[in-house]
């Protein structure tokens, strides 16, 4: 059948990309590294197994995981080429993430009442932030890391999901009729204005924590998600004005008083003024992208080591250098399709809460990609957040997989209902 072709073809493409990447690394670096081969092989095996599970059991959407695997494979190729150790850990994280993806999708699908745990989400978010504030340590200008056992992770990554679930719950939970003996706050919460205020309160509380951690990139991300929810569900122009004023106010304070932000703005506007110092990172990134041209210098043939932090925040520049601007555009297109899927799932599910959650996840992925890619190509000021599925980093990989697992669960629920009726 013609359709069978389409089932295996994306998988073949991914395997071909992995194979070509491995061969190119070997040719261009002049050495065959058995680790590279093994790791790429292992990764392909993992994703083939997960894909087969998705195909043969009714687990919902097939596209999300395919696109994610392609992004993951490109990331792993890049990391293996940069430093085998990083690539190795990334493959492990990818496999863990893919497993969690399946588990989350099943848990989300079969556990009900996700919309009734709002207080728990907020409490969890506050606790994670408090723990970071008390026990966290800083890396790259933001005090946002927490060490647990042998691992270090960024709690704010996890809070992202809690934040989306909270906002979705606040906006879509039904309005209870006011009782006589209800507390005033409870009565107020069951009005439109009350819901808007509650969402705003939670958003600003989390933003305050993030700003105290000096994690501006994630703060912008949270703010964008909150604005998206307000635009869709808020239906109130006063909040729009209020948020606009608040954003301008906080930006002015940041630009006036935070040296951290001043440096970012200065290197964004005039990176070549201090090319050996503060502007070094962004200028090297621009040189790398320019050096790549349309088709790139070939994987393993470039010199991405000039860019500091190339394995995490700046991996997109390395991709552009070695796979060319066409490769970079392909990556951006993959994110486009991924975000499109999120919105498609949001539109086609018929549960209001799930609709809101899927929308939030789509917005989060899209904005996160925009912030970091925009940052490294000097389109907007640079803020350090990860490129989902490509950047090196366990907590980012795992939590983004968790978010997509929720999306997968939602899509599976939808199919189930369609089949029954």
């Amino acid at each position: 059948m013609k359709n069978d072709n389409y089932i295996v073809r994306p998988l073949i493409c991914i395997l071909a990309v992995a194979l070509l990447g491995g061969v190119l690394i070997s040719i261009n670096t002049g050495a065959v590294n058995p680790d590279t081969t093994m790791l790429l092989g292992g990764m392909c095996l993992t994703l083939a197994v997960v894909y087969a599970l998705l195909r043969f059991f009714p687990l919902g959407d097939h596209y999300i995981f395919m696109i994610t695997s392609m992004l993951g494979v490109i990331g792993v190729i890049m990391l293996l080429r940069l430093q085998t150790g990083h690539g190795q850990k990334q493959v492990i994280w990818f496999s863990v993430g893919a497993g969690l993806f399946l588990v989350t999708s099943l848990v989300y699908r079969f556990v009900k009442h996700w919309n009734k745990l709002n207080k728990l989400y907020v409490a969890g978010g506050i606790m994670l932030f408090m723990a970071t504030a008390l026990f966290g340590y800083s890396s790259g200008g933001a005090k946002s890391w927490l060490r647990l056992g042998g691992f270090s992770f960024q709690p704010s990554e996890l809070v992202k999901i809690l934040f989306i679930l909270t906002l979705a719950g606040v906006f879509t939970n039904e309005y209870k009729k006011p009782m006589e003996n209800d507390h005033k706050i409870k009565t107020f919460y069951n009005t439109k204005l009350g819901r808007n205020c509650a969402a705003t309160f939670v958003a600003y509380l989390f933003l305050l924590f993030l700003l105290l951690q000096r994690d501006w990139g994630t703060a912008v991300l949270f703010f964008a998600v909150y604005i998206a929810f307000m635009a869709v569900y808020g239906e109130d122009k006063r909040f729009l004005i209020l948020n606009g004023v608040a954003a301008v106010f906080v930006s002015i304070i940041g630009i006036k008083f935070m040296s951290h932000i001043q440096v970012r703005i200065a290197t964004w506007l005039r990176p070549f003024d201090d090319i050996a110092g503060k502007g070094y990172q962004i200028t090297q990134s621009l040189f790398a992208i320019g050096e790549g041209g349309f088709t790139g210098r070939g994987i393993g043939a470039g010199s991405p080591y000039y860019i500091p932090e190339v394995h995490s925040d700046f991996i997109f520049s390395a991709i552009c250098e070695e796979m060319g601007i066409l490769g970079g555009l392909a990556v951006i297109m993959l994110y486009f399709v991924l975000v499109y899927r999120a919105f498609k799932i949001s539109l086609s599910t018929n549960n209001d809460f799930n609709k809101a959650v899927a929308m939030g996840i789509g917005v989060m992925l899209g904005v996160q990609t925009f912030i970091i890619i925009g940052g490294v190509i000097k389109f907007i000021p640079l803020t350090g957040i990860t490129l989902p599925f490509i950047s090196y980093g366990g907590s980012s990989m795992v939590t983004t997989f968790l978010a997509l697992g929720i999306l997968q669960g939602i899509s599976a629920r939808r199919r189930e209902i369609e089949d029954e009726i």
Binding site: V17, L24, I27, H62, Y63, M323, L326, A330, E420, I421
Partner: protein, 146 residues
């Protein structure tokens, strides 16, 4: 020769990534097309529109159900319109069409079928555009399309 091979492979790499994107988009496109085609085939003469707020109901139900020539409504899977409402019987009622007119009859349900607030009981009643049908904990509006 040594320089050509990596160059070709580099091009090939990018081409394969684009082939992947093309395949995914094509699959999605095919999906959407079959979905919209399904909708066109079952262009019904009448449909049931849910009057309750979906959030008031604790089971999954669609906003509207298109009516075919013969429709059974109930909980069991032999019903064309299957809704997991606990207050419905396994086969609750039947809506069928004879010569451009829709009729409703109760299929011996436990909680009965109400048409505009009156019990249908053992009769076969003609449905008119705008009739309100109460079954289980739901209320549907019957809409006849011209």
């Amino acid at each position: 020769m040594q320089n050509i091979l990596p160059k070709i492979l580099t091009y090939l790499f990018v081409i394969v990534v684009y082939a992947f994107i093309y395949t995914i988009i094509r699959m999605i496109f095919l999906d959407i097309r079959t979905m919209s085609r399904k909708k066109n085939i079952t262009k019904a003469d009448g449909y049931l529109k849910l009057m309750n707020l979906k959030t008031d109901l604790d089971f999954d139900v669609k906003e509207s159900y298109e009516l075919e020539r013969d429709n059974l409504i109930g909980r069991s899977n032999k019903c064309g319109i299957r809704i997991a409402d606990r207050a419905l019987s396994s086969v609750h009622c039947r809506i069928f069409k004879a010569e451009d007119t829709f009729f409703i009859e109760d299929s011996g349900s436990a909680n009965g079928t109400l048409l505009n607030g009156e019990s249908v009981a053992d009769e076969v009643v003609e449905l008119i555009d705008g009739d309100k049908i109460s079954i289980g904990s739901m209320m549907f509006l019957f809409v006849k399309s011209e």
